[in-house]
Amino acid sequence: MQSRVLKNLELELAHYRNRLMVGAGFVLVLALILVTRLVYLQLVKHEHYQNLAENNRITLVPTVPNRGLIYDRNGSILAENFSGYTLEITVARAGDLDALLKQLGELIEITPKHLRQFKRLREESHEFETVPLKSKLSDEEVAVLAANRYRLPGVEVKARLFRNYPAGEGLSHVIGYIGRINDRDLKNLRESGKTPNYKGSTHIGKVGLEQYYEDILHGRTGFEQMETDSGGRAVRVLSQTPPSAGHDLILHLDVELQRVAEYAFGDYRGGLVAIDPNTGGVLAMVSKPGFDPNLFVDGIDSTTWKELNESIDTPMVNRPLRGIYPPGSTIKPFLALGALELGLRKPSDAIADPGYFSLPGSSHRYRDWKREGHGTVDLHRSIVQSCDTYYYRLAVDMGVERMHDFLARFGLGAKTGVDLHNESSGLLPSKEWKQRRWKQPWYMGETVIAGIGQGYHLTTPMQLAAATAMLANGGTFYRPRLVRAVRNAQTREERVIPPEVAWTDRFDPGHMAHVRQAMVDVLKPGGTAVLAGANAPYDIAGKTGTAQVVGIKQGAKYDASKLAERHRDHALFVAFAPAEAPRIALAVLVENGGSGSGTAAPVARAVFDYYLLGKKPEGVPVREGYESAGD
């Protein structure tokens, strides 16, 4: 019995040792599996993981350059940057977004407008991008958010540079605005290969100078090679390519002159372009009404956008650049010069004006604006009194083709090439054009009314101003320019953009003098704009005009009571001064202003008085926000 137990024990121990061997083998197998795996990872795939580790920790962080500033000719700031804080949300990290927004609403004020704007921006951006909810946070808001940061996943308070336009409405159509980069902008950037420079940039110039000079204003994005941890937090900077700030723009434009002009418009809508006839520099460019460009910087909300877009006053239309109007009688000095140059008239040639003109073999009467007629009218008088009959006849003698060709020499019917995008070219009609556009022959009657700037002929105030400037300087077409100089933000070095002569035309100085004298007398007793020229210590050469209102957008829901007013003629005035040595040339358009002499010419006079004499009309408001850049 004893030995059996012992034998059993021996057997059992042998059995146990056997199991221990299996256990040890098991351990070795496990160890071998691990070694295999580790050899695979650390030797076979080492390079692969080495690369991954490098990419993991080194990231290129773009450093966004400061956008260039925009100044007027006297150093008043028109577009500036200021730093502030925005509340931004990374939707992918936020978890329950609705709950988060509600929570934020309890901490700081979140208006429905913010939410609408957020919703729209969110639709435009990707899940992992940060979307701003509220910008320009107050110090208290920043503090509250910082204190509650730990329970607000995906919420960031970011320091940002904001764009501000102190001139507000007044220069909205000149300066334009920047806005958040959208899909279309991205596509454009990709196509032009500029995407790398926009890494980290959130905004881009959308219209106006901000758009046209985007490349200059934006600057070059710098990069920091950062070592980061998995949370993307920077640990240290490995290398650095500093950004170079965008260049500043210095304009020809004088913001005070601009304000004088705006003020002179009173309650009227319209446009004005004033140009230095010796350089093409744009001294003032008014489009009334305007809009507040600051609304667009961080995304305009749909309600305000709708209001702006559907307003009967069309504040979003850049009138000097894109508004097209018949030139009316302002075309007369050009045609008069054409008559002299083409040898169709001599200054002394006179007609007897019965108050109307009829084509041979027709009883239809093309009426003069003065029913009883102007009596005996020569070239000088035709301009001073704006005699229609004289030009009806002249137009027939000149013919539409010669008229077209001559006016084209002043750049009419074509884009001036000013430094803004989306300029309209207007329309200078010709037989060829009519056949092409309307598949119809040109009728003689159309030539007749073309003589007084009616019919198909359409110009923009910009075009008219540039043509007037050419008339003023005796034959040089300067490309209109808003920007006078580009200043390097670092070195403060100014690079002046030289005036660009688009072309030079030769006109007989005698003919020029005739026309100019007639235009001077327009503002003298007996002229159509005598009131606007009263007591001017310098000579103004000008020409009034009226343009018939062609039509009003069909189907627009305009107030019926306002329509009558909107059918009044547009008032026009082109002028330059001082007449003998012009320093400023302009075109004024007053929508529904009635007559050029009544509403448009006084605006021009106010602009001349300020520009030439420094005389400011009483009541021009002193606006906050302009500060001279004291550097």
Partner: protein, 368 residues
Amino acid sequence: MNQPAIKRVVAGALRHMDGMLLVLLLVLLAVSVAAVFSASGQSGARLAGHLTNIAVAMAILVVVANIPPHILAKLGPPLYAIGLVLLVAVALFGEIRNGSRRWLPLGVTSIQPSELMKIALPLMLAWYFQQREAILRLRHFGVAAVLIALPFLLILRQPDLGTALLIGASGFYVLFFAGLSWKIITGLGVAGALSLPVAWGLLHDYQRQRVLTLFDPMSDPLGDGYHIIQSTIAIGSGGAFGKGWLSGTQNQLDFVPERTTDFIFAVFSEEFGLLGVILLLLLYLAIAARGLKIAEQAPSMFARLMAATISLNFFTYIFVNMGMVSGILPVVGVPLPLMSYGGTAMVTLMIGFGMLMSMATHRKLLKT
């Protein structure tokens, strides 16, 4: 107490140390201090905490080593009972952390009763088999299976599949060394393989996700897959010789998650490379081998079963942790034995090694 008295007590306590095992453990702990220091971003507080844990665990090791095996065996049933009660308590009153009920609040602190079971279950089984040493029959294995199933199921429903499997494995090792027939083992293996699809259906979504993530970490690079991706990058980029101590970019730049605890192996492999990893594995193997040697020479059935199970269990934890960190096993919350920061696991392991030493030294004493 005068000085000689203290000396006598210390000498007495040290008499129950297994010299070789002690040296191996101390070397390993020294490595762990270096690794935790690096992984914590050279945090003094973490280092102090780790050293405190080591000191406490070493003290416990010495205490346990001085308890004779037959006393240890008697602790089996009460510890097992307490463990079961606590597991039930957890199921009823436990705190829910990260979606599972594993913690039992005890006033100021809270404990994870499943930790206790890691020791209590093998102890209980070894005691049980010792009691029936002479008359071991198949039905006794049946009883043992029930003893395993109770904690296994309670932990499974917490839910904590990883721990449940590891505890189940430790129970199985006892049965294995007690001589469970190969036929049954094979039968269980086949049955287990067949029931896999059923088990899959019973898994919680997060558990399935973990398994799926294992096969394709990129399917969830910022969620579950993140841990695996980052730890494999750390290991792989370590290469043959590593990036050097304190120089692992994945580690120092906070890409490796849970890097002082469950994922410390990623830190170690990144900084010390394949060479360091193999040395570490050799160290672990030596400890396991020493344990198996002690098991071979153990004087009683209880000691044999317990010593072998502790040794095998030890290496199982190493395999599961390294497998998880290197991306061949699903992510389960298992620390790397004696390397990871964490007091509970350290104490549990040292209790085990204390028992091994007790079995090694008390046997010699019996002989002399």
